[in-house]
């Protein structure tokens, strides 16, 4: 293109990619470096996490926000572990039977090291009593006392019956036993008077007999009615004897345990209840002893505490910290409602579901009580009722176990209402920024309960110090991941990749997860090559292979361009046609591609039609960019005449939608070309956002866009005239591929920065943009001069057209 020396405008090839010279790194391999396990460049987030660990207030829970692959989970885990060690072991928890209200199990709190001990002591107590209680009830002493009681009450009744029998016999009345009870009959001559004989008696005799029989019937009824009363009294006496007998052995054994746990008030109260219950239910132990012959083991080794009837004395340990150190750090990967708050299991018995306190299972909140609970925010929110359950527990500061089925009233069966365990936990949610901001905006509870945020930086500034630290981070990662030491060349390549990921040659990305993946793959190639350390070539191979695996779609598109299926010109010049650039995302892979943008103009009423928008293929940001163009045009040209342009803009062969305003500079250049009727150099592509003043603004994905056009040109053969125009502000972001840099070095490709649309249109058309002179007019041969002339022409023709039309209408009227 005559008039403009594009070679002189290009960014020097050295500035196209920032190199990290391996020789400047002060080590051979990372094995020489001190490990660096702290968080790099995350002081702000680290301080927030530390504050969350140290502050006492219950509602200072923490939300850790940042992008995926930032190492948030491992960083949080490491920081919490560091803080947790400094804390004391929290209390332990166990559910035990509530003997008064079995459906409301009691939650026992005890200092660390006691829960399992109490459980074992209770098991031993049951085992011991299962032998000792039957033994004492078998003893001669007990049996004698019991017999004495039974005989005392039994003989009272017998005596009454005997006296009655003697009495009736003395009055010639027989006491006859029948299957239904007793009958009384008069006796005469030693024989019962039969009905025939009775009828023969005089009325007086019959009356005397009837009166006597009636009287004795009442008397016998009284005697017999006494029997149940005596039986009740006998039973009470025996129960009293049983209780006294059981208490002797129970007290002896349970006192030992009470002394051991005397300092723990809830446990002491529970043991007091246990003592009363065992005494009241000594029969359980007698029954168990009766069944002793059923099992394969002799009584001495039989574990009676495993029998279900002794479940009432089980200590169901929720949390124990035997051998633990510091506060617990619990990471719950599957934060369902049950896994968070615990759950109550049921067993099927005769077709019905039953449960008891031994089937209460702890949740993550139980395990983390007194320490830290780390949860993935998105997972908590996606599990039904989990978020609500978590908030409820945090607000009430206690763990109430409620199943989802119970909340939805889906199941109607025997259930429990365990006494909630008091809760003192610091919850750390890890999620992305969008989720955090949505929660802040939409959930008042979240604002109340999660008062701290740890916002992870995505990058740090490039400097000698940061590079040195970055190398140590890589070394530490390699050591943790079991990867070979990484040599200086490979570290340099990884740091360069970190700049590329940051899309900034002056910054290093902190997405260590991605770099870690590359390093591990490079380690594999190093192993294949039999190297002791990961070399730069291994990292290059890993990067190439990653690119290759992901680039199927990109290659297909480039094939289509090469074959002319997608129309892209890379040489020659065309009016109203320009090569725009866009970035396509396929999963986590992004690549650039050229798109033909065309503009057509004619006289009109001031409409700038964005065809993408009309067919709803353009996103709002793209539409905004196009409307800015309209603003630029209307405010730049023929200000004294009506804006009489009708222009249309389109991304040719674009069927998947366009978003963003990075093509607005290209679109403006295409319109200016069409208006000025000046052809645009097709060996160039343009990217950049423009404002209403014609100034260029930086865009994202600059490296991918340049590489996309480079690939298109490269396939057709580099001509030496090809290149990409980018906003000047994007020059610092250049971290191009080595092959692009090499082409630029050889003068076969160039990257041209431009700050204004005037600079850009001049490079593209080879014609100066032009500035208004003292007369307020653009030079006639400048781009702007031609554009303004065209627009004035449109306005004049519109005026003439309007006048002629009006005259024609008047003539018709006449």
């Amino acid at each position: 293109m005559p008039g403009i020396d594009k070679d002189g405008l290009g960014v020097p090839y050295k500035a196209l990619r920032k190199k990290v010279p391996a020789e400047t790194l002060p080590f051979e391999t990372t094995a020489d470096l001190e490990p660096f396990d702290a968080l790099l460049g995350q002081d702000r987030a680290t301080d927030a996490i530390r504050l969350a660990c140290q502050i006492d207030h219950h509602d200072f829970n923490l939300f850790v926000l940042g992008d995926e692959g930032m190492g948030r989970h491992s960083a949080v885990k490491a920081l919490l572990a560091e803080q947790a060690v400094a804390r004391e072991l929290p209390d332990e928890w166990a559910y035990v039977n509530n003997f008064g209200e079995p459906y409301k199990p009691i939650c026992l709190r005890m200092p660390p090291g006691n829960a399992m001990r109490l459980k074992r002591r209770m098991e031993e107590l049951v085992d011991d009593l299962a032998g000792e209680i039957p033994a004492i009830f078998e003893s001669d002493e007990y049996q004698s006392q019991r017999r004495a009681i039974e005989e005392e009450y039994g003989e009272q009744h017998e005596a009454a019956m005997a006296e009655f029998a003697e009495k009736v016999a003395a009055e010639n009345v027989a006491l006859v036993r029948t299957p239904m009870g007793f009958m009384l009959a008069a006796i005469h001559d030693g024989k019962v008077i039969k009905p025939d004989r009775y009828k023969e008696l005089s009325e007086e005799e019959r009356n005397a007999i009837d009166e006597k029989i009636g009287r004795f019937q009442e008397e016998l009824a009284e005697v017999l009615r006494e029997a149940p009363k005596l039986e009740r009294m006998s039973r009470k006496e025996i129960e009293k004897l049983n209780a006294e007998t059981a208490e002797r052995v129970v007290s002896l054994r349970i006192t030992e345990i009470e002394e051991e746990f005397a300092d723990i008030k809830p446990v002491a109260m529970y043991l007091s209840d246990v003592r009363k219950d065992i005494i009241a239910n000594a029969g359980l132990f007698l029954t168990a002893a009766l069944r002793q012959s059923e099992g394969p083991f002799p009584e001495a080794v039989r574990k009676y505490h495993k029998d279900t009837e002794f479940d009432r004395y089980v200590v169901n340990v929720m949390v124990a910290h035997d051998g633990g150190e510091g506060a617990p750090v619990v990471i719950e990967d599957l934060p369902t409602l049950s896994h968070l708050t615990g759950w109550i299991e049921h067993v099927s018995e005769m077709g019905a579901l039953t449960t008891n306190f031994t089937m209460i299972r702890p949740g993550a909140l139980h395990r983390a009580n007194g320490g830290f609970l780390v949860l993935d925010a998105r997972r908590v929110l996606s599990e039904p009722f989990a978020w609500d359950g978590l908030k409820r527990c945090l607000k009430s500061r206690e763990i109430a176990i409620r199943s989802m089925a119970e909340r939805l009233s889906l199941v109607s069966t025997v259930s429990l209402e365990p006494v909630p365990a008091p809760l003192n936990v610091r919850v750390i949610l890890i999620g992305d920024r969008l989720l955090y901001h949505l929660l802040v905006q939409l959930d008042q509870d979240f604002r109340d309960l999660f008062k701290l945020q740890a916002d992870f930086e995505t990058d740090i500034l490039y400097s000698e110090d940061s590079v040195a630290l970055y190398a140590r981070v890589i070394g530490s990662f390699a050591a943790r991941a079991g990867v070979r030491p990484v040599d200086a060349q490979a570290v340099a390549r990884l740091i360069e990749q970190a700049m590329r990921l940051a899309e900034d040659a002056k910054k290093l990305s902190l997405k260590v997860g991605v770099l870690g993946d590359i390093l591990r793959e490079a380690d594999h190639y190093a192993a294949e090559a039999g190297r002791d350390a990961v070399a730069g070539s291994d990292v290059d191979r890993a990067l190439d292979q990653r690119e290759r695996r992901s680039s199927r779609v990109r290659d297909k598109m480039q094939d289509a361009v090469e074959r002319g299926t997608i129309l892209i010109d890379t040489d020659g010049s065309k009016t109203g046609q320009i090569n725009g650039l866009s970035v396509v995302s396929v999963g986590d892979y992004r690549f650039g591609r050229a798109s033909r943008i065309t503009a057509r103009v004619r006289m009109g009423t001031g409409n700038l039609v964005d065809i993408e928008r009309e067919v709803e293929l353009g996103g709002p940001l793209h539409s905004k960019g196009v409307m800015i163009l309209s603003g630029f045009l209307t405010s730049s040209y023929a200000l004294d005449a009506p804006f009489s342009l009708h222009a249309s803009l389109v991304f040719e062969q674009s069927y998947g939608g366009i978003e963003g305003d990075s093509a607005s500079s290209a679109e403006l250049c295409a319109i200016l070309s069409a208006l000025a009727e000046l052809p645009i150099d097709q060996s160039l592509a343009v990217t950049g956002s423009v404002n209403q003043l014609g100034e260029l603004q930086p865009i994202g994905g600059v490296n991918e866009k340049i590489e996309g056009f480079f690939d298109t040109c490269s396939r057709r053969g580099l001509t030496g005239t090809q290149g990409v125009l980018i906003p000047k502000a994007n020059v610092d972001h250049l971290m191009l591929r080595e092959d692009v840099v090499a082409a630029a070095k050889d003068g076969k490709f160039r990257v041209i920065p431009f700050a204004t649309i005037d600079e850009g249109i001049a490079i593209l058309t080879g014609c100066p943009a032009g500035e208004r002179g003292a007369d307020g007019a653009f030079p006639a041969e400048s781009v702007h001069g031609k554009v303004e002339a065209r627009l004035r022409n449109f306005a004049e023709r519109r005026r003439v057209f309007g006048r002629d039309s009006l005259a024609a209408d008047e003539r018709k009227t006449e």
């Binding site: 039994g154 003989e155 009744h157 017998e158 029998a165 029948t178 299957p179 009959a185 009442e218 009824a221």
Partner: protein, 246 residues
């Protein structure tokens, strides 16, 4: 082993109702563990009661002390037939449990006489009679003047151990045993009066050796015992009865 085989007895459970028989079954079960070679059952319908219930205004006093109108003879027959079925079933179950042969018959007539007739082929009769008194009672072994036979003494001790009951030995005359668990009485009336006042779980008597030998004596003993009575030596008593009848 040989001794055990020799000491096996044929045991007959006799009662006038199933409710009374149940008390005997509990004891028979314990006896059957080691002593029984065969089990038998006899349920006797006391015909005298039929006449008694026909008396005008007759009442029956239940165990719980209620005074009810006496049932009709037909009703008594229905109850008896129902008891027969229950008795047979219980006997069958017990015999199966102890792997013993069994037989059953039902009779009518006067109870003690009827039981004696039925007991001709049996070594021991267990007369069923339910107790109305609370708690466990003692086992009363009525010893003859010549002393209790070794076999019967062993049976009594074995039952006392199994039933966790005190064993009391009683006898007539000065020559009888004395002590905390043994008493002697001057005459039969005194002895019966004592038994009448005692809460007994079982009374054991040997008709062959006395002091109670005749059905009349046994009837009296049975009435005052108000609990099951284990009767040994019935064959001898039957012979005596036969002689006296001849």
């Amino acid at each position: 082993m040989t001794e055990n085989v020799r000491s096996k007895r044929r045991i007959l459970i006799a009662a006038t109702s199933f409710a009374d028989a149940r008390a005997a079954f509990a004891i028979a079960d314990r006896l059957a563990e080691s002593l029984a070679s065969k089990l038998g059952g006899v349920l006797l319908h006391d015909t005298a009661i039929n006449e008694l219930v026909a008396s005008p205004g007759q009442r029956v006093i239940t165990e719980s002390g209620e005074v009810l109108a006496a049932p009709s003879a037909a009703r008594l027959r229905t109850i008896f037939e129902s008891d027969v079925k229950a008795f047979r079933q219980a006997l069958d179950e017990l015999a199966r449990l102890r792997s013993l042969a069994w037989s059953f018959e039902s009779r009518e007539g006067e109870p003690i006489a009827g039981f004696f007739e039925a007991a001709a082929e049996w070594d021991i009769i267990l007369l069923g009679q339910r107790s109305r008194s609370p708690g466990r009672g003692r086992i009363v072994l009525v010893a003859p003047g010549t002393g209790v036979s070794e076999d019967l003494d062993e049976v009594a001790r074995d039952l006392a151990a199994k039933m966790r009951a005190d064993l009391v030995t009683v006898a007539l005359g000065d020559a009888g045993p004395a002590g905390d668990t043994a008493f002697s009485w001057a005459d039969e009336t005194e002895l019966l009066r004592w038994i009448s006042h005692v809460r007994a779980a079982l009374v054991i008597v040997d008709l062959a050796k006395g002091p109670f030998r005749t059905p009349g004596q046994l009837r009296e003993l049975f009435e005052v015992a108000r609990c099951p009575v284990l009767v040994a030596g019935t064959a001898h008593a039957n012979q005596d009865q036969g002689k006296s009848e001849q």
